[in-house]
Amino acid sequence: MTSPALTPLRSGLAGGLIELRQAFSGAALGGQLLWPAATLIALFFFRHRELAGSPFTLGALMLPGTLGMFVAFGMMLMVQYLPAEREDGTLLRARATPGGIAGYLAGKLLASSLSVLVYLAVIGIPGAFITGGLHLADVSWGTLAWVLILGMAGTQLLGAALGALAPSPRSAGYVSLPLLGLTAVSGIFYPVTAMPGWLQGTAQVFPVYWLGLGMRSALLPPGAADVEIAASWRVPQTAAVLGAWALAGLIIAPLVLRRMARRESGSRVAQRRERALQKTS
């Protein structure tokens, strides 16, 4: 297996594992676990809250939705990685290495996907015990797999494209605000049917809602669909929307990233560093 075509992918994936280890060790670990911990606390408080018209507690309905939210969180990881690593020269280093850009992206996608899976485990396993509403017998593993794959592909590829377009790490931070707003209206924390119609419409354009719905359909028994729009998991629509976002990511991300990589040079890295230094001093 020393084909020159595959070497960058293998190297990149190995690098992704190294970065995953860095992300979940030492001082970085605390920051990583902050949001999952906050989510678990919220689940704890809603574990007995009854929901009108449903035999399920709010906590039990919320858990799969929050897992969907953390899949979408992978987008934020990519949005933050790219501008920061463009600024410190990581991308230029990749450009100066044979196959380096392909390897870089493979590594980033692996690291952020595995990070997402770690979040899901950290929330899902204790969450199942806290809410008592998740039973292995109800889990549809096939649905879980395709929702995760389509969801992670779409959100992370688009995150990479957004990160590549962001002029600085600082501006990349602002991208997280609309995403948080979107999460709030996407039926993650409360059934979307309780929202006004126009908000429901908005939420259904973006993948966060469908990720939540897909996770609920994969993890909850059929009866839980009663509080959803049309009292259905709408599986074909979920697949279509998440698939469309993933396809968009597959098309857009390489274009944007190639453009960004082409523009990278040493003097640009140096310029940005100077600008960053001026701002802090």
């Binding site: 020393t2 070497t7 960058p8 190297s11 230029l92 044979p98 196959g99 140096a270």
Partner: protein, 310 residues
């Protein structure tokens, strides 16, 4: 040597390179060649176009006009195999700060494994390379904890990991303290003695160029102001020598381009009265500064004039 042979021996050839942005000419009809095994320094003040030139040769920038061949290919469109034959050291790299030294070197080396630099395997044993750059004691240190000099030596190790035929160094010792600079110079000179890697470097430090380069190209205002070995440059551009002497208790000083004939005349005319005669040849530094001043004082090309008026 026929013209064809000369070209086959060229690792770099640049013909009529021009670079224009924001209506400013950064490079003006720049042409030069680098032969295999040479170490060439692009020397010049800030803004002379050194970095732009190197970035074009590295394939990171498209020139506004001109022809470039590097290792037999056009850098902008050359593929991975070509990239594997080059190594790059920049002053601005701060990447992979959380990685450990050895880990990062192994990671970078893995990209070069399918490529063979000459008869050697495509990459060095990381341990040997770390020892060569004096970082074997830091193998497990996170990169961000390295000193500036260590960081730059690591960058050199990374650039050498694929046995490059051509090594680019852009201001490699900028920001280093004198001792770290000296260490970097010795390291690079040693590597070159051992491996014969062709080197193209930029620097604004004359001393560095003189120490590391077999040939110096002085760039000023986007043009070649002069080129040659350090000794050739000194001869080629007659700098002004300084002659001092005393006569009847009075001290005299004279600046002249040809100190030898001046002194001959002085002695012939003054005879035994002349004492404390002292001749100081123009130093390379004087020559360099004079050249740069001269090049920068040249009138702006016609194209730039309407801009000034506006």
């Amino acid at each position: 040597m026929t013209r064809q042979e000369a070209q086959a021996d060229d690792v770099i050839s640049a013909e009529g390179l021009c670079m224009r942005y924001h209506a400013k000419d950064v490079l003006r009809e720049l042409s030069f060649r680098v032969r295999r095994g040479e170490a060439v320094a692009l020397l010049g003040p800030n803004g002379a176009g050194k970095t732009t030139t190197v970035e074009i040769l590295e394939g990171f920038r498209r020139p506004s006009a001109g022809q470039v061949r590097v290792l037999g290919a056009s850098p902008l469109t050359a593929g991975r195999r070509w990239r594997a034959r080059t190594g790059i050291v920049l002053q601005s790299w701060r990447d992979h700060g959380r990685w450990r030294v050895r880990e990062f070197l192994d990671y970078q080396a893995s990209y070069y494994r399918p490529y063979a630099g000459g008869q050697e395997p495509g990459s060095w044993a990381a341990g040997d390379l770390l020892a060569a750059v004096g970082l074997d004691g830091q193998a497990r240190t996170p990169i961000r904890r390295l000193s500036g000099g260590q960081r730059r030596r690591l960058d050199l190790a990374v650039a050498m990991t694929g046995h490059p035929e051509l090594l680019f160094l852009d201001e490699p010792t900028a920001g280093l303290d004198p001792q770290a600079r000296r260490e970097f110079h010795d390291l690079l000179a040693g590597l070159r003695r051992e491996l014969g890697t062709t080197v193209l470097m930029t620097t604004h430090d004359l001393d560095e160029a003189g120490k590391l380069a077999s040939r110096i190209i002085i760039l000023a205002a986007g043009r070649i102001a002069a080129q040659g070995t350090a000794a050739e440059l000194r001869d080629q551009i007659a700098g002004e020598d300084e002659v001092r002497w005393a006569r009847d208790g009075q001290h005299y000083r004279r600046v002249t381009p040809d100190s030898t004939s001046f002194v001959r005349q002085l002695l012939a005319a003054g005879g035994d009265d002349i004492s404390e005669l002292e001749v100081r040849r123009a130093s390379l530094e004087d020559t360099y500064l004079a050249l740069v001043r001269q090049a920068e004082a040249q009138p702006a090309p016609v194209a730039a004039r309407p801009e000034v008026a506006a």
